[in-house]
């Protein structure tokens, strides 16, 4: 009869267990690769790419009476490497279309008789309008432009006294700079991705693992029928989620809704279907439920949070990363959602983004049906 286990027995048991777990981790190649590469990718992204500073500010100029001072300031602005003047017009009616199309970040409206005010020493009121649908970057951009203006004023002030340029700030679309207005469209994208891509990937791979898929295959059902049948409930669920998210945003946070509700719901359904197709594809390509879950997280959730413009503005990403964002469906959906909710724009301004999503849907769905083989091997 052995004695009760001693302390060293317990330690050796622990050691044996730890070694076993290490074996398991090392031998699951798929999961191991993801777990090693993922943190590395995130460090690179956060360290080098994802920034909250700005790289480029696009300015639209409204100059009713160009004079020496306005031209001098305009030259100062366009001479700055981070600023570019995208349009110049004598009247303010270019501003709104510029913003709606997303072609300008800031509009600068010069008052009449700018040079005269400066030389007389009275306040020259410059109107600085920001597209504040992204309030964080809007403030930074406005501050930057203001700094350039201030340095121009300071330079002139060396020669004369009391040069006063008084910028007046307007935040278009989001006058109070509420962050929630920024986030809600992106959050809708995130929720949709969660319900569609992640849940379909898990549900399908669970069916595979459980063995019920075998019986479904040996039946008159075609693969596309199985796929559509599997994803339909998640589509309905996703739709319900959009509605509750919008209600919450509107009732609790007073997020504005300036555009067409039907268009937003339609776009949400389109985006949800892209997510579903992606989920099916991931389930078809992975071997286990765990791999499907990890795969769905890496391929959908991560890009949707970091590379979609939800948190980090795309404009401040390095070029190579911006190119990658073209392939992130959420990026396009966020443009659509922000456009509809905050700017009130319609299809005429958003057709490009819709077309891109439709193309993604067709490509992914075809790939999903193809990879969901009618046989086991």
């Amino acid at each position: 009869m052995r004695e009760a286990r001693s302390g060293s027995d317990r330690r050796s048991a622990l050691r044996a267990f730890v070694i076993k777990e290490l074996h398991h981790i090392v031998r699951d190649r798929q999961t191991l690769t993801i777990l090693l590469l993922l943190p590395l990718a995130m460090v690179v992204l956060f360290g080098f790419a994802l920034r909250n500073d700005i790289s480029e500010v696009r300015i639209g100029i409204v100059d009713a009476s160009p004079d020496a001072a306005t031209i001098a300031l305009r030259n100062r602005l366009s001479g700055n490497p981070r600023l570019s003047i995208v349009a110049v017009a004598p009247t303010a009616d270019i501003v709104e279309p510029l913003f709606r199309r997303g072609d300008a970040d800031i509009a600068l409206v010069f008052p009449v008789g700018f040079a005269e005010s400066l030389s007389r020493g009275t306040a020259a009121r410059l109107l600085l309008i920001s597209d504040a649908s992204d309030p964080n970057t809007a403030s930074m951009m406005a501050a930057y432009v203001n700094a350039v203006i201030a340095s121009y004023a300071a330079d002139r002030g060396v020669n004369r006294q009391s040069v006063q340029i008084v910028p007046q700030f307007r935040m278009r679309y989001n006058p109070t700079l509420k962050s929630v207005n920024l986030f809600v469209p992106g959050l809708i994208a995130l929720v949709l991705t969660l319900v569609t891509a992640l849940m379909t990937a898990i549900s399908l791979s669970r069916e595979k693992e459980r063995g019920t898929l075998e019986i479904l295959l040996v039946s008159p059902l075609r693969p596309w029928q199985i796929i559509v049948g599997k994803v339909m409930p998640y589509l309905l669920l996703a739709f319900g989620n959009v509605i509750t998210a919008l209600l919450a945003a509107w009732l609790v946070f007073n997020v504005p809704f300036r555009g067409s509700l039907m268009l937003l719901l339609g776009s949400s359904v389109l985006f949800a279907m892209v997510g579903l197709a992606l989920g099916v594809l991931i389930a078809a390509l992975t071997a286990s439920q765990r791999a499907a879950m990890l795969g769905a997280l890496v391929v959908t959730m991560l890009p949707n949070t970091l590379l979609s413009g939800l948190i980090f503005p795309i404009a401040s990403l390095p070029g190579w990363l911006q190119a990658i964002t073209y392939f992130v469906p959420a990026r396009w959906f966020i443009v659509i959602a922000r456009g509809i909710m905050l700017k009130g724009v319609g299809m005429s301004n958003l057709w490009k983004e819709h077309v891109i999503l439709v193309v993604m849907l067709v490509v992914l769905f075809t790939a999903a049906v193809r990879s969901f083989k009618a046989r086991l091997a």
Binding site: M1, R2, A4, S6, R10, S12, A13, A16, K20, D28
Partner: protein, 249 residues
């Protein structure tokens, strides 16, 4: 002499449902005891209590002289367990499994090495010692799992359907291994759906609806029911009305 397994009015309830209903039985050291019963009769629940995984609702049981209720941890470190669903880790090699279980049961490195080598030699697994367990045919996996369960020389070993799906020759080799272990003094409690294997046991018990409906040596049990085979006894106990159909067989 104290029994290796000693259950007295052992009971387990789940809400309103009584899975194990006051069973009482004893297994002596070195016995091979067949613990039989239909699916849902309460076998699995009873075994879980005996190996210290599930606390009894009432009643007592002592396994390897430790009380399963108050001293479950000692019970678990003095028994071996092998089930059909899970025995060894598929993605570890033969040697790694041996090292793992040896370590878990507190064997020294020297003991692990010596007993492991002995085990591998007896099973003629020298060429497969560094192969992953998943590459072994089922019969070998089961034989290996049984040997690993014996590695720390437990007093009592519980085998849960150890030979399901194994070819008939390897099954019998497995039972040779069981007999060898019993001869060394190890007590073996085994469940099986192969009723011919039930005949290999020293004594058997048959559970029906949470109770032990029959117990004794295979001949005693058959004699009591006037049956030629344990199959008939089983049928009589589980479906009393269909006995007449069997007697033609």
């Amino acid at each position: 002499m104290t029994a290796a397994i000693d259950a007295h009015e052992l009971t387990r309830r789940f809400g309103n449902f009584t899975a194990v209903d006051a069973i009482t039985f004893e297994v002596q050291a070195g016995e091979v005891f067949g613990f039989l019963g239909a699916n849902g009769a309460g076998k699995t629940t009873a075994i879980k209590m005996l190996i210290g995984l599930l606390a009894p609702t009432s009643g007592t049981a002592r396994v390897a002289e430790f009380d399963v209720t108050t001293d479950a941890e000692s019970v678990r470190s003095h028994i071996g367990y092998m089930s059909q669903r899970f025995s060894l880790y598929d993605d570890l090699t033969v040697r790694e499994n041996i090292t793992l279980y040896g370590g878990i049961y507190g064997l020294t490195d020297a003991e692990i090495r010596d007993r492991g080598d002995g085990l591998i030699g007896r099973l003629h697994l020298e060429d497969a010692a560094d192969a992953r367990v998943q590459s072994l045919p089922l019969g070998w996996k089961q034989k290996l799992a049984f040997s690993v369960a014996l590695l720390h020389r437990p007093a009592v070993v519980f085998l849960d359907e150890p030979t399901g799906g194994v070819d008939p020759i390897t099954r019998r080799q497995f039972w040779d291994m069981i007999y060898d272990a019993a001869e060394d003094g190890t007590t073996i409690l085994v469940t099986t759906h192969y009723l011919d294997e039930a005949e290999y046991c020293d004594r058997i018990s048959i559970m029906v609806d949470g109770r032990i409906a029959a117990m004794g040596t295979p001949s005693e049990v058959k004699g009591r029911f006037g049956a030629a085979s344990l199959d008939e006894v089983f049928l009589e106990l589980v479906r009393p009305q269909s006995v007449s159909a069997v007697q033609h067989a």
